[in-house]
Symmetry: C2
Subunit: 300 residues, 2 copies
DNA sequence: CATCTTCATATCGTCCATATATGGTCCGAC
DNA sequence: GTCGGACCATATATGGACGATATGAAGATG
């Protein structure tokens, strides 16, 4: 096996001598004496097993091997500095990647877009990896490292090792077919829909808006007539567009224009609001991720 | 300015610890004790000014910065080995480049082509740089390093610092217009051309075949009638094709088919031969170049 | 030929990496 | 809870290597 005695010191010395063409002068620049420099160069040549310099009575010149090695040595020294800087910047959270998970409706909220935009502005070398999936999926994603943070709609019951930061309670809107009789009204209260058919969004894992809506309706004094359930929020809206019923979505989803669907703010009592939360690992270490979490919470 | 205390040792230690996930176990693999390894890792972290590992009660894991640095560190260690090997191979003449100069007529001689082919076969990583110019140009090219070796036709008077190796004396051929009255004869003697007009090749620097031909003619008992001089051998042949006279060229140039030109061997006394020589630096150091010179001389 | 320049060799000192010994902390077992 | 084991950090000692000083050798310069 190779002894691996070579050190960066040898490369630095070699480069200095190669540039000066003089061992003595290079020694001055290196703030050392000439004999040890000679010795280190010799040691390097022994390790490489090739002469790097031709010794002249006036200075030294590179051999072919020396010229080849000089190019490599300078590149290596540059890479070392580069690596040092990159590691430092990574530690400071200036470079890296953050894997962000979303529930379907999260990306439409301005807070989310604004957070990502502002973060990218201040730390352009941090890249985002985006993923959309269910809340349960995202929790396991956080645990096994597939995700670093996740925007979720479900409650604050912190799963083991996960912290859920409450960001805000968002107003909701009613989505109903454009030709619906109530479509002229600027805002509506929940109880006005006691006779309507509800299209509800329900994830396979059962979390999401479902429970919140049912609870609010019962508080409003009626039990909603559920016509259909769909596993994706966009599916529910398509069903609404088809005239099969109405649904309730986070207000920010009003920004999603859909042919034949009209959104109207939901007002009055009981207030039906849905949370937007940010989930992350309790023991998060990544400076970039921590900075992102911090930004989102302060933007709230 | 940076203190530059980092050494390859730190990188090797770091990589070992990163792979093992244990300082103690890595120390075993490195055939050293655990405390010094801990210290060196700490020193590295101080220099980078970032934590590379998270210390757990059971081993250590990489931080983001550590992961980034690991990739770089491994690349750097690889490059170091690569540089070492490349320098060594360059010293052995297995890689590199040789700048070869030619007089116009040299590339046509089989020795030249054969030498380059055989050399490339045994040392495929040595590349050739080719250049055609005058003898004087090539001598200066050798001196200032633009060329490493040169195939020349001129004599053996070694210019200062240059060694000229005699390779061979090549037979000559007469080139004359196809419709010339002597074109049916298989071989010809010099004295048969005493009444002909000679097109002679003369370089600006005055070297080349010129003197050799004049001398041979005078030995054959006549003074040639020189109709025209041209600076390039191909020009003389074009003038021959145009019927302006005859010329004498190295026999290997017979391989250069030219419309309207017929080559015939020049035989009899006085024997008119032209040399093919190889010029190189007397103090040549490059292993690749020395090997090429050696090959050419032994191929002779 | 004397001198200067420059690189190589010799010898010595000193600092730093390593070894040994010990302490601290976390975890799991009982 | 307490104990013991595993692992990393700290403290101190030591040895070897890097570097400094002194000298030698070889070629250039005048």
């Amino acid at each position: 096996m190779d002894d691996m005695k070579m050190e960066l010191r040898h490369l630095r010395y070699f480069v200095a001598v190669a540039h000066e063409g003089h061992i003595t002068r290079a020694a001055e620049k290196l703030r050392m004496q000439q004999p040890p420099l000679s010795q280190q160069i010799q040691a390097l040549e022994r390790e490489i097993d090739a002469a790097l310099f031709v010794r002249h009575p006036r200075g030294v010149t590179l051999t072919d091997a020396g010229r080849a090695f000089l190019a490599d040595a300078e590149a290596i020294l540059g890479e070392v500095e580069h690596a040092k800087l990159r590691a430092r910047r990574t530690a400071r959270g200036e470079v890296g990647r953050i894997a962000v998970g979303f529930t379907t409706s999260a990306p439409f909220h301005p807070l989310v877009a604004r957070a990502m935009r502002e973060f990218r502005d201040t730390r352009p070398d941090v890249s985002f990896v985006l993923e959309e999936s269910s809340s349960a999926d995202m929790v396991s994603g956080l645990r096994d490292g597939r995700l670093d943070v996740a925007f979720i709609r479900s409650g604050l019951v912190d799963p083991e090792g996960i912290t859920v930061h409450a960001l805000l309670q968002e107003d909701t809107a009613v989505a109903f077919p454009a030709k619906h009789k109530l479509s002229k009204r600027p805002a509506l209260a929940l109880k006005e829909f006691s006779e309507e058919t509800f299209i509800l969004y329900r994830r396979p894992d059962g979390r999401g808006l479902y429970d919140v809506i049912i609870a609010a309706c019962s508080e409003a004094g009626f039990s909603p007539h559920v016509g259909q359930e769909a596993p994706r929020i966009v599916s529910t809206l398509n069903l609404v567009a088809a005239g099969l019923g109405i649904t309730i979505v986070p207000a920010s989803l009003s920004r999603l224009p859909l042919e034949g669907v009209v959104y109207r703010p939901l007002k009055g009592k009981p207030a039906l609001k849905v949370p937007l939360n940010l989930a992350c690992r309790r023991d998060e270490r990544s400076a970039a991720t921590l900075a992102f979490i911090d930004l989102v919470r302060h933007l709230r």
